[in-house]
């Protein structure tokens, strides 16, 4: 089976002015499943100053999408990635960086997180997010929030201001009341595209068949050598009220440990929960000494069903894996060597 791979590569020159020399490479190749690695296992790894990867959800995106739509994806990912690089280049924390870039993606209706979140069975929006600090294993998550503009920031506040990890539903809203995070009404999350997808799914009386899931995630390594991970989602189109997927579950959708890796997952949430995918990849790196690419690939290939989803992951040496077993996973990666690339298929 031949799957065309489209790649857009940017190689910025990190001179003082920060001018970007952008080289766009459109490469067609053959890939059974999409995999990317910053540092192939056969080469000697060198410690990078910083690195970042982001994803916009694993799923199906037709190769025949319009140029406008493709450009929209690529521009969105490029802008988000550039913001992350700027923060890390300036010495920003990995934790601050993954939160900031996820806020950008939550604000973009292109993705299924924050504005643009999918509709649940009742025609509403319930948002989930989680964040984790690889240095301390501190983590926070929210599930089923309905009025919070940026769930990832509320997840971080759960981590920093409560003794808890996960707050759900109305209780999470009560907590939001105490924090001063931006609130919105449900209409804010509306997007015509997600509404049409929901109506179509309703007619079929199906659930969990969203072609492009659109969960967003980020992993980052900062100049202090610490990693962090974050994930945010609107879940599944037409999902049952109260369903919690993997995104807010630490160990399933998100994990970060300096000793293992930082990782954000996207895909069939229940598969990722039952296999504790994020934690499992980190364990394979930490305990079995696998490089992050091999660890991610091993879990996807040996544990998950085909078409389950994908992960982005990164270790403290700056190695990045972006692995998926679906047709597409909009994603982007950059590091302190000048790597700067945006990919969809």
């Amino acid at each position: 089976m031949s799957v065309e791979m489209t790649r857009r590569t940017f190689r910025p020159c990190w001179c003082a002015a920060g001018a970007f020399l952008i080289v766009v490479v459109m490469a067609a190749g053959c890939a059974k499943s999409g995999t990317e690695s910053a540092a192939p296992t056969s080469t000697t790894k060198t410690q990078l100053d910083y690195a970042i990867a982001i994803h916009g959800g694993a799923g199906t995106i037709s190769k025949d999408i319009s140029v406008e739509r493709r450009t929209a994806y690529e521009n969105a990912l490029e802008n988000v990635l550039r913001r992350g690089v700027e923060m890390l280049e300036a010495g920003g924390d990995a934790l601050d960086t993954v939160e900031a870039v996820l806020r950008m993606m939550e604000d973009d209706p292109l993705f299924n997180a924050g504005k643009g979140a999918v509709f649940n069975h009742e025609g509403g929006h319930e948002l989930d997010a989680s964040i984790m600090d690889g240095e301390t294993l501190a983590c926070g998550a929210v599930a089923g929030v309905t009025t919070v503009k940026n769930p990832i920031s509320l997840a971080r506040l759960v981590m920093e201001r409560t003794p808890h990890v996960l707050l759900a539903g109305p209780g999470a809203e009560v907590f939001a009341d105490e924090t001063g995070v931006d609130r919105v009404d449900q209409e804010y999350f509306f997007s015509q595209r997600r509404y049409d997808a929901w109506r179509k799914t309703l007619e079929k009386k199906s659930e969990a068949k969203d072609a492009v899931r659109g969960t967003v995630g980020a992993v980052a390594l900062d100049r202090d050598g610490h990693v962090a991970a974050a994930t945010s989602t609107g879940g599944l189109t037409n999902k049952r009220f109260g369903r919690i997927g993997d995104s807010p579950v630490i160990g399933a959708g998100t994990y970060a440990s300096d000793a293992g890796c930082a990782i954000s997952a996207t895909g069939k949430g229940e598969e990722f929960i039952r296999n504790a995918v994020a934690f499992q990849v980190s364990m394979l790196v930490e305990l079995q000494g696998l490089d992050v690419e091999s660890a991610a690939r091993q879990v996807l290939e040996s544990r998950l069903e085909p078409e389950s989803g994908g992960v982005i992951a990164l270790t403290t040496d700056g190695s990045i894996a972006m692995t998926f077993n679906t047709q597409a996973m909009p994603r982007a990666a950059a590091d302190s060597t000048g790597r700067f690339e945006v990919l969809i298929w």
Copy 2:
């Protein structure tokens, strides 16, 4: 530091009539942390026909508790264990068995699950439970349910009747409406002891300091060679509305895999989530070939803070671990060789 260990051992004679020859042994020993193993690593392991372990929560129980209270714990655990043994002896499924014994513990106000659940900050009860089948990795969980008499049975229905793993809050109640599970009003969960504990905690304005946490759990191996695990809890006294601990999180509080182990955890839920304790123990058994006792001990000793909690775990060869780093963990274990023991400290 010398910690007295009190043990009550029953050795039933498995004759046709099922008559029990009960030997009660009260042994005083020295244990830094409580650990039990059905099959010490130094002996050759033999495949057992079936095995079961249960726990009633790790925490602090004074050695000076009244004889009545101690007897109440021991009798409750003994009755639950006997029911489990009867089911497994008769060829019952591990999954049916862990559900049945957890229902008994949920119905007993002695434990912090179902009737007798602790009060949250608002003076209500929110219940969490999860269950997992080690043969298929099928799993189900509910969080924050308020009207379901036996949350463990609702968790099983999530597993069997939905494509999801975790349903939370009002959405889980809506699902309960469709299933016909027994419903109760909040007063059903009332117990004077938990009420008094809550009032005391409220006065101190503290949270998460319940002396006896009282989460319940079970792991079982059936005659078909499959394992299952289940956990149920009322959470932390005075917990924040909407807080989800480790009990309903697959990989944190509960996990089951024939390839690894079945495990149920109890303790500081957030610590167990951030370390994916249940999954981690199972991974150490599966990938590193550790016996279940060593795996459980390694995770508790190397990953968790002192006084964090404990786990019960069992592998398909019938080896049982009951490990904790708190003062006490009411627990009991039995297997097809006639082992039948109940312990508190």
